[in-house]
Symmetry: C2
Subunit: 113 residues, 2 copies
Amino acid sequence: MEPLELLECSPPLAREPLTMQQAAGVAQVFKALGDPVRLRILSIVASHTGGEVCVCDITGAFDVSQPTISHHLKVLKEVGLLTSERRGSWVYYRLVPETLSELSALLNVPATV
Amino acid sequence: MEPLELLECSPPLAREPLTMQQAAGVAQVFKALGDPVRLRILSIVASHTGGEVCVCDITGAFDVSQPTISHHLKVLKEVGLLTSERRGSWVYYRLVPETLSELSALLNVPATV
DNA sequence: AGCATGAATAGATATCTGTCAATATAGATA
DNA sequence: TATCTATATTGACAGATATCTATTCATGCT
């Protein structure tokens, strides 16, 4: 299952109104960011030296169960914010910086002159 | 009811992990963006010449009912993405560019060198 | 005052979502 | 093969949410 191109062809919010389709795609990504646990997971992965984090390191940082963390990781992966790779017994998650960059650009507002 | 400072003191995701409190605040704003109708409303307001839009202009752009639009506007207002002002019979909504800028900065990832 | 219009609120409801316990899968090791 | 560990999946459920209709509130106009 390929990660969908949810952000494809979406102009900055302040440039022109989004179409329904564009809004639907972009909203999926923001929705993924709209949960405290997922947002914190993302910040843990994004800020980790080396750029990747083992699931076991994430699980330990939360009070929620391991299946719940696994579920959130899946959501972040499906919208293209994270990728994963298994090496041996462990699975490592890594940020997809392009996705974050595109989101960041989407929210960019021309300076109020 | 003051708009809460949901983004207060939150470092860029890629700099250090968010605390629970930070994540909870920021997630509220992203959750507001995580709905297609709200995202499209925001893009309509943000891209409109003059910087403000009458509710009646928004309502006409969607297939959903007027109360539903009103509900979404309230959500966007509560998280600090929009402000509103009544002038006569009409209510005008306006973007809060600072909030978008802070979000954009939050998502900013140092260039992969 | 009475009425018309734009917008917000209240209440109801179907759907979505975050969470957990239980189980399954994948890989390592004995 | 048997077993242990690390993740993922399944199924269930309580709480959240998007939507609607009906109503109320606010303003302007006659």
